[in-house]
Symmetry: D2
Subunit: 213 residues, 4 copies
Amino acid sequence: MRVLLTGFEPFGGETINPSWLAARALDGERIGGAMIVACELPCVFDAALQALDSALADCDPMLVIALGQAAGRCDLSFERVAVNLDDARIPDNAGAQPIDRSVIAGAPAAHFGTLPVKAIVATLRQQGIPASLSMSAGSFVCNHLFFGLMHRLAARPGVRGGFVHLPLLPEQAARHPGQPSLPLATMVEGLRVAIEVALATREDLRVAGGEIA
Amino acid sequence: MRVLLTGFEPFGGETINPSWLAARALDGERIGGAMIVACELPCVFDAALQALDSALADCDPMLVIALGQAAGRCDLSFERVAVNLDDARIPDNAGAQPIDRSVIAGAPAAHFGTLPVKAIVATLRQQGIPASLSMSAGSFVCNHLFFGLMHRLAARPGVRGGFVHLPLLPEQAARHPGQPSLPLATMVEGLRVAIEVALATREDLRVAGGEIA
Amino acid sequence: MRVLLTGFEPFGGETINPSWLAARALDGERIGGAMIVACELPCVFDAALQALDSALADCDPMLVIALGQAAGRCDLSFERVAVNLDDARIPDNAGAQPIDRSVIAGAPAAHFGTLPVKAIVATLRQQGIPASLSMSAGSFVCNHLFFGLMHRLAARPGVRGGFVHLPLLPEQAARHPGQPSLPLATMVEGLRVAIEVALATREDLRVAGGEIA
Amino acid sequence: MRVLLTGFEPFGGETINPSWLAARALDGERIGGAMIVACELPCVFDAALQALDSALADCDPMLVIALGQAAGRCDLSFERVAVNLDDARIPDNAGAQPIDRSVIAGAPAAHFGTLPVKAIVATLRQQGIPASLSMSAGSFVCNHLFFGLMHRLAARPGVRGGFVHLPLLPEQAARHPGQPSLPLATMVEGLRVAIEVALATREDLRVAGGEIA
C-alpha cells in the first residue's frame, strides 16, 4: 500500500521549494499502514504531467497528494477544485507561458479533489496546525498538475487524490518581508496528519466550510 | 436585442446590496445597441435560479451578466469559472445552509464564463476603473447563480454570460472599517463599459492574466 | 477665519496625487464660517516645510489640515501622532533620501495632532464615508510635514492641526491591481465634513478607538 | 551582566502568549556574555509597569527587551517608537479600558527605542528568520509598557531597551484561520540573535528602512 507524494522544484526566483522539501522529508516513512513515496516534479507545463505518469506507473499508489508552494498563504491550504485552464502569469521553468488553453483538450471544465478535506482541516486545527480550505489553485503549474492528476484518477476509481498549497518557509519569507511562513517541521507534521486522516476516512465531514466570495 | 443584468437583494446583515443598486441604475438604458433589463434575485439557493428562469423567459437576452456583492474585494472582479458546489458558510435569506451538495446534480463540475473578460478588464483599466479577474466566485449563492446561469446558457449557444463581483459601497464600508469600497457611480460606469466591450468583442484578448496560486 | 488645507504634488511614479486634487477642490469654499485656502507642497524633505511656512504666513489660519497619499489604505485615515524621524524608503522628488535623522533636531520625539479625530471619524461613518484612525504616518515626507506642522503649531496655542492620509484614486488603482481606492468626490465630501466637525468641536469624543498592536 | 526579557500573560481570550513562552525559554541562558533574566508581566495597565519596576530593581540589567503578542503580524517586528498614549480597544486583564490618557502624565509625547533595530533585522534576515521594523506598537498594554520602559531608561543612560512584537503561535493561528504564525523555536532563535546583535552593536546600520505611510 503506497501513497504518492509529489513536490515541485523551485521556481519564480526561489532556490528552494517547500513542497519538495516536505515531500522528501516523508519519503519512505510509513503512515497509517502505507509507505510514502516522494517524487519531485519539474515546474514545467506538460513535463510535470509526464513525470507524474511515470511516478504513477512506478508507484501504483492508493492515494496521491500533490504539493505546491503558494506565497501569500499562511497555512496548509487544501484545494477543493482543479480547473481545466492554463493561464500563466510568469513563464514556467522551461520558458513556456501558455495563455488560456486547456490543461487537457476535451476534458471537463474541472475536477473536484477526492480527499476528505474537511475532516483533514478539522483534525489539523484540533492538533494546533494552521490549515484551511481553498476554492482555487490558480492557473499556473500547480493547478495544471492538480487537474491532470484528478483527470487520471477519474479513470482509477479506487485511488483518491488532492492538492495542498504550502506557505513559504521562514528562510524564504526572510527575503520577502510581509509574507507569512511556516517552518518545514510544521508542514511535515501537518502532512503526516493529513495522510493519516485521508487513509482512515471514507466519508468526509458534513460541516460548513465554504466561502461567500 | 436585450441584455439581462441581475443583482441580489441584501444579505448577511446588510440593508443594501450594490449588485442590485448597480443593475437597477442601468435598467432601461441602451448600451451598444442593446436594451438593459435589470432583475433583482433573492439571495436564496434554488429560488435565485427559479427567478433567473423567469427572467430569461421574459427577457430572451443575447447577453446575461449576473452581479453579486463581495466584501473584501477592491474592484470590479470578473469571475472566470463557476463550480458545481453549494457550501454555505452562513444561511441564505431563507435560512437554508446547504453543505457540499451539487448546484445541479449530474451537471459538470464547472462551467467557464463566456464573457471576453480579459478585453473587458484591459478596457476598464485603460479608462481608469479598477478591475481584475477572479478564479473563484466562492461557494455561496453567487457561485450557485453563476453555475446555474452558465449551465442554462450551455444549451443556448448564441447567448453569452458571466458574473461580476462588486466591492462594498462606501456607506457599507463605513460600518466595516478596513474593507475597501467603490461608489455606485464607478460600478455603474464600469458595468456600462463591460457591457459595451462584451457586445463588441468576439474573440477575447490573448494576454496573460492568470494566478500562480 | 481661514483654514489652510495642504496637499502634495505627485510622487513615486504617479502623475496625480489625490491629496492636492482634494485640497484644490475645496480651495475658496466656505465651510462652517471659515474660508478654505489650499496650498500645494513639494514632496521634498525640508522644502515642504519651507513652503508650509510661507503658507502659514500668508494665510494666518485658525486650523491647518495637511493631506497626503497612502497607497494601500482604504479610507480617510486620520493620523494621531507625528514622529521626529525621517527615514525614507525611496528618494523624495528632489532625490534626497534621509535615513534616521530628526525632522527637527532638538525637538521632541513626537507631537500629537490636535484635531478632534474621534468626533470626526464617528461623524464620517454616520454619514456613510469610510474613515479610521491611524497611529503612524510613516517616516517619509508625509510624517515629516505633519511633524513640522505640529511643531510650529505648538508655538501657536490657538491653532489646531492634523494630517489625513487619503487612499489612491480609482484611476491610480486601475494601474495597481489589488489596491483599494476612493473617488475624489468621496474624499472631498469627507474632508468637508471633517473641517466642519473640527471647527465645531472643542472636546473630542471619549470613545475607544485604539489599536492593540 | 544581565539582560531583562519580559513577556506578557495571555489576554484577549487566548490561553497562551508567545511573548512569555519565548522569554521563559531563554531564561537563564547566556548570550554574548550576558545572563538572560525572564519576567512575566500582567496584561494590565499600570500593574505591568509596577511589575517592570520590580524586575528592573531585582535584575539591574544592561539591556531590556520587552516582548508582546501581535495577531496579524507575520514576523518578529521591532518597534521603533513608543507613544505616550493609552487608548484601549478592549479591556485589559483587570477590566480597565483607559481612553485617550497619557501613559505618564507630563512625560514626552514619545520615546524612541534604543536597540540597533536595523542591524538586528538585517542579521535576522541573513540568517533566514523573518523580521521587520514597525512604526507603531499600538495603544494598548504593549505600547504602555514600551513607553514606560523607555521613560525609565531615559534616566539610565547606559541601559538600552526596546520592544518586539511576536506573531501568533501556530496552535493559536489554528483557531484563527487567516492569521499568520511562527513557531516558538523560530521566535526563540530570532530573539537569541537579536540579543547577540544588540550586545555587540554600538552604532546602528545606516540603511533605509522607513515606511511611506
